[in-house]
């Protein structure tokens, strides 16, 4: 039987919250069980759209870096090389790599290109909004 990861995590969270934590009461161990339950609940909802969000962020970020035309020869060359290497990477590696490029590009744009800086900020705001977690709840 194949249990989807979100269901697995949620079941473990319910076990912690409804079985383990009450048995341990208001102790350090009991509070720890509550914290584990909260983490599992967060992960259960996070994992549902994780791959989709990463793919979308990677595609948008790659497009932002590819479209950027910084008036700095070294940075331009670095970005071109970074994008070329990123295409051969796994999704996680690629995102990490692209974000390091964004850090450099945004720092340059803050000092030299307000329109590009605005585009970097808009990407970061949307990315962080998509990644923000809802408070954990036992209700389905």
């Amino acid at each position: 039987m194949n249990i989807p990861p979100e269901d697995l995590l949620r079941t473990l969270a319910l076990g912690q919250a409804l079985v383990v934590s009450p048995a341990l009461g208001e102790s350090y161990a009991g509070k720890t069980a509550q914290t584990i339950a909260a983490i599992l609940l967060l992960a259960a909802s996070d994992v549902v759209t994780l791959a989709e969000r990463r793919m979308a962020a990677g595609a948008r970020l790659a497009a932002l870096l590819a479209a950027a035309d910084p008036d700095d020869i070294t940075l331009r060359a670095d970005l071109a090389e970074l994008l070329a290497r990123a295409s051969a990477m796994t999704l996680d590696e690629r995102l990490e790599h692209l974000f390091s490029g964004l850090e450099a590009l945004h720092a340059w744009a803050d000092a030299h290109d307000p329109a590009l800086a605005k585009a970097c900020r808009a990407f970061l705001k949307d990315y962080a909004a998509a990644e923000r977690l809802d408070p954990p709840t036992l209700a389905t």
Partner: protein, 340 residues
């Protein structure tokens, strides 16, 4: 954990016996969550002439942040001497020779509780009077003029130095690119304000969840003084007003009750009345962004400890997960609205 229950019991019995000059037995020793930064234990010390519930805080193997127990003990003692509601500090072991690691003993404050992060409207009908009391107590803290011994015991960190402190922590603990924290740091450096007034004793982690209140809604004790320093009191106000600590009430633009207690103007009025200081409108935006940046670095540090396998406490995992993403979003949204 540094040593087992029996070992710690022995350490405490020996120490309190010496302090009270009589044979003392330790009963009901148990650990509790008293802030993620330290190991916190409660116990009853029983001698022939007296007995008392005490609390011991000491450095853990790993933690959210690196702070000094000597500075924490000093701040606690200073606040206690000034009549602020704090646990009475009793004994400092700066070297960790008696407690197993640097730490201290303080008297236990009974009958209250602290609000949980996800607890909705934790103060209920008592929110307004309790909020007035809480921000009045903060004002009284900020009314204290730092003395020579405060300067000797606590780091002095006006805005630029405070920012430099967290920037250095970011450099040490960022294991992955942090484009939002880096962008915030650039903005904060470029717009660093002058101090809002003379230096004050800053609590450093003043927020909902870090004070005890009674069932009747009275303030019993201000807790967690480990990030105390001398600096700008606007820092405490901005951290207290951060949406993360608002129990879901305060939005990214800062609208809603501060800490589910009071609207910001009322919190500021209570603070101004007690501190004799004026709220610095000009630096408020900077301190609000600073609060989010500081939060980000603390949560990153927590993640660093977990990823380095130096810690197993789930509180550190949680901190690196929910609050990190919360502040990443908040800081990104603020930067976007600032247009910088």
């Amino acid at each position: 954990m540094l040593d087992g229950l029996e070992g710690l019991e022995g350490r405490l019995a020996s120490l309190v016996s010496e302090l009270w000059d009589e044979h003392v037995v330790i009963r009901n020793l148990f650990r509790f969550h008293g802030g993620a930064g330290r190991e916190t234990w409660r116990f009853c010390a029983e001698g022939v002439r007296r007995s008392a519930w005490l609390v011991m805080r000491r450095d853990p193997v790993s933690s959210l942040i690196r702070t000094s127990r000597t500075a924490e003990f000093h701040a606690l003692a200073r606040a206690h001497a000034a009549g602020l509601p704090v646990p009475e500090p009793l004994f400092l072991d700066a070297a960790g020779e008696r407690l197993g690691s640097p730490g201290f003993l303080m008297r236990c404050v009974d009958g209250g509780r602290a609000a949980g992060l996800f607890e909705a409207d934790p103060y209920g009908v008592n929110a307004r009077p309790l909020g007035t009391e809480v921000f009045g107590a903060l004002g009284r803290l900020h009314a204290l003029a730092p003395a020579e011994d405060d300067r000797a015991a606590l780091p002095f960190q006006p805005p630029a130095e405070r920012l430099a402190h967290w920037a250095a922590e970011l450099d040490v603990h960022a294991r992955h690119p942090q484009p939002i924290a880096r962008a915030a740091l650039r903005w904060l450096i470029a717009h660093c304000p002058d101090p809002s007034g003379p230096p004050a004793l800053v609590h450093g982690d003043f927020r909902s969840g870090n004070f005890l209140f009674s069932p009747e809604g009275r303030l019993l004790a201000l807790l967690d003084w480990e990030m105390a320093h001398l600096g700008d009191p606007m820092e405490d106000l901005a951290w207290a007003a951060d949406p993360l600590w608002s129990h879901g009430e305060r939005d990214l633009h800062g609208q809603g009750r501060v800490g589910a207690l009071l609207p910001l103007p009322e919190a500021v009025a209570a603070w101004e009345a007690a501190s004799g200081r004026r709220f610095d409108e000009a630096s408020w935006t900077w301190w609000r962004l600073f609060a989010g940046f500081q939060g980000l670095v603390i949560w990153l540090t927590s993640g660093f400890e977990v990823a380095s396998m130096r810690a197993v406490d789930p509180v550190l995992v949680f901190s690196a997960y929910y609050p990190y993403r919360f502040h990443n979003h908040q800081v990104a949204a603020m930067l976007d609205s600032l247009g910088a």
